[in-house]
Amino acid sequence: MSGSIQDTFFEECEELLEATDEGLTAIEGGDHNPEVVNAIFRAVHSIKGGAGAFGLDDLVAFAHRFETVFDEVRSNRLELDEKLVQLLLRSSDHLSALVEAARDGGQIDEAHHDTLLAALDEYTPDEEEDLTFEPMGLGGPAPMMDLGDLGAAPAAPQEETYRIRFQPLKEMYGTGNEPFFLFQALRDMGDLAVTLDENELPGFDTMDMDESYLAWDLVLVTKEPRSVVEAVFEFVEGLCELSIAGDGDAEAEANALAALDAMFTAPPAAGSADGEAAAAPFEPPVPAPEPEAKPAAAEEKASAPKAESGKQEQRGGPKPTLRVELERVDRLINAVGELIINHSMLAQQIANLNVSDTRDVETELEGFKNLARDIQEGVMAIRAQPVKPLFQRMARIVREASAATGKTCKLVTEGENTEVDKTVIERLSDPLTHILRNAVDHGVEKPEDRTAAGKQTTGEIRLSASHRSGSVCIEIRDDGAGVNRPRVKQIAIEKGLIPENAELTDGEIDNLLFAPGFSTAKEISNLSGRGVGMDVVKNAVTGLGGRINISSAPGKGSTFTIILPLTLAVMDGMVVSVADQTMVVPITSIVETMRGSDDMINSLGADGTLLSIRGNFVPICDVARALGLYRESDRQAGVYLLVETETGQRCALAVDDIHDQRQVVIKSLDGVCGEIPGVAAATILGDGKIAMILDPESIIAASPTAAAFDTERRLSNAS
């Protein structure tokens, strides 16, 4: 089977799982609208169908069981109570796990799988029992609920006769669907008789060439279940008037629709519920062999309204979208980046022209610049995606974590429609998972402790996203016990992270959580104590050019705030020169800039220098030296950029000159060279030259003075 088709299947699975999750969350919130249930049923069914085609038996079997329960719900034979909803949520999580396992070849938790299957079985009618254990073939959707009425001993599939009325709308022809191929597919299943109904065909003079006038009446005798027959028409759903009536349809359906039947005294042939087809009497062209001589009347109309309602939903569906290869978008982004660079080159050339009056050109150039910006924003918007799917996955993490720790937590999400760059979303998944697991494991108290503290037994974790002045802010707030500061400090001392007599502010203690090798779990729990700590989270966030903060109030909970850049492709930078090289420093890390004079510089030890700023001493870090560059001219670095690191440490980066402040397009150096300490990426400047984008954090880390000073400061804090 072609890999790309399978990829498409998994892509679709992701969307379908999202839809399932969304529906279940709505149900959990008390929305028992039958449409929601139907939507989930369809999503699970589609996953099952696709999985069947790829021979993913585990997935098919589980999806089938899951779907069966939903069918029970949808036909009102099951009440959606709290317990069932929870089971369904867990099952949906497991379904995601199965899909992931199928995609990435991972292992699934067998015990969990069996538990869920058993739990789902309790909700399915007994006669399903035998069926569900039938081997699920590769050939297509497995036998389904339609056979439920065959009783406890389903024998080999029996032949059934389906009367199908198929009347394409003109839109169907527009989509390139051919009735012929549909009929061919049906013929492959068994005996098919086709009759053309041309009653509606007007005379040639009144005929509208684009209108659809033809209808077909089909009689199919096949061993295939109804679902397979329906599947043939899957792609023309909503594009045709379709009714499928089987002679052996479910009795339950017949009963439910007995009342409906009474209303329809028209001949049994009226396939379409809107009466449109009443003018075209149904005449079975060939007397089809009917193994079960049941009167088909009731069933025939039974399915008509069903088909109608399905069509309605199709029409009111979501906005049309386009699936585009990411690479194409990235190429476009690159081209737009070029355009912006090109603009600055042009501007520079014009400035160099030595023409007295450049006003006209500059006006046009300004227009060019605005257009380029517009295009850039538009292209960036393509990459931007709402965080909703990510947040939905997080709901699952919280559920799993709660189940594993025996706590009850609910995740409340806000700002789900906040759009963030796709890469940012992808790379946020792991850190968020970690923070949320931690929040459940360490943040939220056990139910009895919560009651004692006068809180609701269910812990609340709030996950919110919002745009904040050019960046994205993601906040994870729990209403748990807050950081246990004495304990955190004790552990930090035990692990040798801080001296025993260190005096730290509350904020500094909280930040110890991000120190490498820190873990507060008393025993290594299955959940968060996996040997990685919050430092991994922090690294992931800083890797995205963002920062993370924690604030905590004892007894009230903790809040993690992640601030991220809107996009990874463009940033604001300060253009500086260092040892005759032009470089860019991210503006976000610069606190202030100043021109230094000799009396501001103080020596410390043999090599170290400190810059005095309004009475404070800040270590100086010569960027040229940190990067191993030598000045050809004997110019001294006389300009200082005061930067602040994540830990709140300040340092003055010494550069030769500041030129400009501008938006730069980030060009990754991946694949160009290995990792360079002190350099984050590269960019192309207005003159076409490449400039390195510096990473102040790692420059400071590489600078002996700054590092030494930091240690001294800590020690002086400690004493």
Partner: protein, 160 residues
């Protein structure tokens, strides 16, 4: 220029009269198959990569792409080239990525019968053996055929 580059040894051996571009590096004649070359540019100052090894000159802007420039001479263990306007950068595509190679000057396009390619005689330098995939005689001079894959994928250590 956008031609798909094939570095198939088989192809070099069996193709009838392949065309090679010969150039000089540190006074010695080298050549590359013409299909491996994407373009040849005049040298212009590059942006220095901090902490880069001696044979990595820096990076250059090739129509919006950041490409690394190697000093072939230093790569072969010969003396470092004092790059100037007279020198050329040969842009090749290795492992699907464009890479610039600094050479002294480009000489000519020569047509080579694959049968005339001689194996590299064993010499004392391991690097040479790796980087040269064969030699040919052209106008009484020895021209070395560069094994591009070995030259570029050879581990480039970035100093910590």
């Amino acid at each position: 220029m956008q031609a798909e580059v094939k570095q198939n040894d088989q192809e070099v051996k069996h193709a009838e009269h392949s065309e090679f571009v010969s150039f000089t590096v540190a006074g010695q004649a080298f050549c590359l198959k013409i299909t491996q070359i994407r373009e040849i540019r005049r040298w212009s100052p590059v942006t220095i990569l901090p902490h880069a090894p001696a044979d990595v000159l820096g990076v250059m802007n090739l129509r919006g792409a950041v490409i690394p420039i190697y000093d072939l001479s230093a790569r072969f263990g010969l003396q470092q080239t004092e790059a100037s306007e007279r020198n050329v950068v040969i842009v090749v595509s290795v492992h699907g990525k464009p890479v610039g190679l600094l050479a002294e000057s480009v000489s000519e396009i020569i047509s080579i019968n694959p049968d005339d390619i001689q194996d590299t005689p064993p010499v004392d330098s391991r690097n040479t053996m790796e980087y040269i995939q064969g030699i040919i005689s052209h106008d009484d001079t020895m021209v070395r055929i560069i094994n591009l894959d070995a030259v570029i994928s050879a581990p480039e250590q970035v100093m910590p």
